[in-house]
Amino acid sequence: MAETDAQGYVLLTALALPLLAAAALLAMPGDRPMAARRLSAVTGAVLLGLSIYVFLAYRAGGEVLQMQLRWPWIEHVGFLGENGIALRLGVDGISALLTLLTGVVAFAGTLVAWKLEYRARDFFILFWVLIAGVYGTFFSLDLFFFFFFYELAVVPLYLLIGIWGSTRKEYGAMKLTLMLVGGSVGIWIGIFAVVHEAGLGTFDLPALWEAGRSGALSPDFQKAIFPFFAVGCGVLAGLWPLHTWSPDGHMSAPTSVSMVHAGVLMKLGAFGIIRLGIQILPEGAAFWMPALLVLGTIGALYGAIAALTQRDFKLISGYSSVSHMGYVLIGLATLNEIGVSGAALQMFSHGVMTALVFLLIGALYDQAHTRDLRDFGGVARVMPLWVVAYVVAGLANVGLPGLSGFTAEFHIFVGTFRTYPIFGGLAILAAAIAAAYMLRMFATVFFGPLNPRWRELRDLSPIEIAAAVLLIASMLVMGLWWAPFTDRLAQTVLSLPGVTG
């Protein structure tokens, strides 16, 4: 059994801090929004620091699981034996990268939520609970806690959208919650089936991974259960055709929730497919991956094509997210090290890029109160910084070299070509369509003569600029020098069962 590592307490801190912040906010009076904002900004900054630490301290080429910590909880009760349920934390290369993503996006999200006036304290309480759930999911090496934190991350969304949202918020919030909870039911069934079938009396993930790898879970069982995990987590990852909560959910969600939601939460789904699907059920994964490849490719093309004629900024980003998460699924489905690494890179890349896009949409919508592309024109004259930031995000979306999108997509394309050349070609085609919908939006909104109605628009505020710079810097680092990312991923990806060189 892995001992507790001193660095494991870093993970514990990162997990506990948002919960403590939520508790502290709960104890604060509700009529002092500034105090809530300050507390949240400090929490976000510390979490960003911890996340950067986790990512940098993760040693490339060392053990796959690092920074472990184990606190036994329930043992020798009922069918539970030794190590029944324990708070076991640790990170591998993929979750270290996603931890970094969470730190970046959560901090940017807190900064953006600064201007929120309505019940700011309550907003931040839910926000931090959600973030704690995200960290918990990435850190958990125990199936019970994995699911617990997964749900903890999803449930606050309903309130965050329902209370602070806009356009058709009740509908968007309800649909999103029902679809995600529906997916969770599948995961829950799968979890019980796996724990029962393995018969180890434990929820310990590494033990279950070993069971899947060694054949303690029979191939037929794996093939039968894999869809529960793939579809259950796939809902959150925007798996086609279960993606429709995404465009509507984004349209309704407030800015910082959209950022965290598209930026981080959708990654929980893809991460779940790796943690539960590929790692516990390698045989099942190998069997079902071609189907996931097809769905991912459909999603990539379908999202891009649908985005071509959307008129609402958020719908464009919603569909573009479907398209980009399709790439993640394609990368995972290749089951080779380049493709799976590309999928992990794409999770990060899409996370920071989408967070930036939603930040910018929010900055415009707060002033203009419309998101219809055709209402705009020539905005570059009044909001030059906003336009520059949007162009950078859009070009990352299109896969322009030098920005993170290219790094990720390039690995996915190469990985896909290695196994399925035709799908590789289709994936690249989707990237060309991305250029079309992005440039169409640039041309309509940013350039051309200025619509006099918008002469009064203000450019980004200093706080928004700070958040945007953080996100753009992340995109540039991954786009220009990606060895620190791939080095940390390589070992982990190769350790995944069924992943070939």
């Binding site: 649908a306 070299p401 060309a432 079309a436 440039l439 060895a483």
Partner: protein, 629 residues
């Protein structure tokens, strides 16, 4: 120095960062920084050249290769390489970039976002130099996309103008379609050879490790990228529209450097193309069709820049024809000479536009010879070089192309490329006559004034190059300059070729020049339009078709509006109504309705419940009996 040639790209890159960050606050908005960077690039090129020539007969030096990333056996090494083809490209890029930067100081004076213009210009130069220095296809692709981005930004420089925005968008998306092919081709070649390194790929192909249909398919995908960037049919539509950008940009990017990236790519990979079945035949065919097509379309264009744009498309076709004949020196030589005289013509056009107060329709110009003598003289030199007058630069390179085609592609191709040569001479003469001879057809053109020294200086410099650059074809000239011999002995694929003038071919070439020039001279004698008008009236439909560029743009617009966007509307509709409203909301409604039906069971009356319990018990007993019996 050659091993540190990356400095050439680093200088403009730093200038870009400096200008983008500080340009607006610097005195003169930092234009001196841009000129300084371009001048040092031009100077550093000679250092690289001297060091390269000092090595003697050397293989392709692989330099500064650093491991970029490695996942298992998937390794990426980034590095630069300098060989003869690179040297030619470096000469073209640094020279034209220097001239264009100087010219822009005068041309762009007082224009909006002056500093940003210079910043992006440096970004372009840096990316273009990176493109020609890259030793592997991945880095080449990175630079390939970055030049596309700079081109997009510069075409759309006047973004308040709708047409400029549309043109920028069109250029980016059209070339992007070709780039899909390029990326697929690069990855397919990687799959076959296991490397992105250009030299390793060539070695693998020459050793026969890859070949057959697979290689042909990969090469065709790569060629798609080359066609997009070099505006070959059917991707040519973006280049004429790109003339919306500031004119110096047209000279640098859309005449001399970026658009020849496709030619460069094919020249670079020519051994691979050679080994790939009929790939070179496709290259010739595409080049030939493009050369003829755009030669015809150039007749009927009335915007001075659009005539030059179609001329560029046509000349790029010539280069592909030469490469398709397998003669790398002929293609690269035409690229080299064309860069100078076409940049000259574009800068000359810029000078005309500025001098004639933003008139650029030939119908509004005329008679500028007297008012703008330096520009007119320089433009005349450029025109004659383009038309192929002995012994200007264009004559020699066209002669090499004719020679290559005659030797490798047979009589039909020779006849057709000769026809395209006549067209070149024809539209060039027409353009010159309409712009500079006769009487001004517009009051503004009548008040035209010669432009300042920062503009005429580069014109004169490029005019000198347009006269003399062709002589490097001779071994003696090359040796005097320190090269191992003439152009064909410096840039070659298998064996160096010493140039000997073929008087018969030179005679044919001169005859083509004479036919074209005198044809146009007769039609537009003294700048009069009556004969041309009569010709138009004689065949109005044909004229209309040519003027409308054979409806390519209309066809594409139709396809985009009706097919691509139509498909998108269908998908969006399907997503809304089938997936969401029926699938998702439908199942929600169904659940709700089921709840509505079931709620009637919840009556609240005890007798009803008691009855249900009794029925349940009875049913269980029956089941138990049935199972037990």
């Amino acid at each position: 120095m050659a091993e540190h040639a990356w400095i050439l790209a680093a200088v403009p890159a730093i200038a870009f960062l400096a200008l983008a960050a500080l340009g607006r606050r610097l005195p003169r908005q930092g234009d001196f920084l841009a000129v300084l960077a371009a001048a040092s690039g031009f100077g550093l090129f000679f250092a690289v050249l001297a060091s390269f020539l000092g090595r003697g007969e050397g293989a392709w030096p692989v330099l500064n290769a650093i491991e970029w990333t490695a996942i298992g056996d998937f390794r990426l090494n980034m590095g630069i390489a300098v060989d003869q083809i690179t040297i030619v490209m470096l000469a073209v890029v640094t020279t034209v970039a220097f001239m264009v930067n100087v010219f822009s100081v005068g041309y762009m004076k007082g224009e909006p976002r002056y500093w940003w213009y210079f910043a992006v210009l440096q970004l372009f130069v840096a990316s273009m130099l990176l493109l020609v220095l890259a030793d592997n296809l991945l880095l080449l692709y990175v630079a390939w996309e970055l030049v596309g981005l700079s081109s997009f930004l510069l075409i759309g420089h006047y973004w308040e103008r709708r047409s400029a925005v549309e043109a920028a968008k069109k250029a980016f998306i059209t070339t992007r379609v070709g780039d899909v092919g390029l990326l697929i081709g690069i990855i397919l070649l990687w799959k076959a050879t296991g490397t992105f390194n250009i030299l390793d790929i060539i070695h693998a192909v020459e050793a026969g490790e890859v070949g057959g249909t697979g290689l042909f398919v990969s090469v065709m995908f790569i060629f798609l990228g080359a066609m997009g960037k070099s505006a070959q049919l059917p991707f040519h539509v973006w280049l004429p529209d790109a003339m919306e950008g500031p004119t110096p940009v047209s000279a640098l990017i859309h005449a001399a450097t970026m658009v020849v990236a496709g030619v460069y790519l094919v020249a670079r990979l020519l051994p691979v193309f050679e080994a790939a079945g009929d790939a070179l035949l496709v290259v010739t065919a595409v080049g030939l069709i493009t050369a003829l097509f755009s030669g015809v379309v150039a007749f009927a264009q009335t915007d001075i820049k659009k005539v030059l744009a179609y001329s560029t498309v046509s000349q790029l076709g010539f280069m592909f024809v030469a490469l398709g004949a397998g003669v790398v020196s002929a293609g690269m030589f035409h690229l080299f000479t064309h860069a100078f005289f076409k940049a000259l013509l574009f800068l000359g056009a810029g000078s005309v536009i500025l001098g004639a107060h933003h008139r650029q329709e030939v119908g509004q110009l005329g008679g500028l010879w007297r008012r703008m003598p330096v520009t007119a003289a320089a433009f005349l030199v450029g025109s004659l070089a383009l038309a192929g007058l002995f012994p200007l630069a264009g004559f020699w390179s066209k002669d090499e192309i004719l020679h290559a085609v005659e030797g490798h592609r047979g009589a039909l191709v020779f006849a057709l490329i000769s026809l395209a040569s006549i067209m070149t001479a024809f539209y060039t003469t027409r353009l010159f006559i309409l712009t500079f001879l006769g009487k001004p057809r517009d009051a503004e053109a009548g008040h035209a004034r010669e432009t300042g020294a920062s503009m005429t200086g580069p014109l004169v410099f490029l005019a000198v190059l347009s006269v003399f650059a062709g002589f490097v074809v001779y071994g003696g000239v090359g040796e005097a300059l320190g090269f191992p011999g003439g152009f064909g002995e410096f840039v070659y694929l298998h064996h160096p070729e010493t140039f000997h003038i073929d008087w018969g071919l030179a005679g044919v070439s001169t005859a083509l020049f004479v036919i074209g020039v005198f044809g146009a001279g007769w039609l537009y004698r003294g700048g009069r339009l009556d004969r041309a008008a009569a010709l138009t009236a004689w065949q109005p439909k044909l004229y209309e078709m040519t003027r409308r560029k054979f409806y390519f743009d209309d066809l594409y617009q139709f396809l985009i509006d009706r097919v691509v966007l139509g498909f998108s509307y269908v998908v969006s509709w399907f997503d809304r109504f089938a997936v969401n409203d029926t699938g998702v909301d439908g199942s929600a409604t169904l659940t709700g309705y089921a709840g509505f039906l079931l709620k009637h069971l919840q009556t609240g009356r005890v007798p009803n419940y008691a009855l249900a319990i009794a029925a349940g018990v009875a049913a269980l007993i029956l089941v138990a009996l049935a199972a037990g019996g």
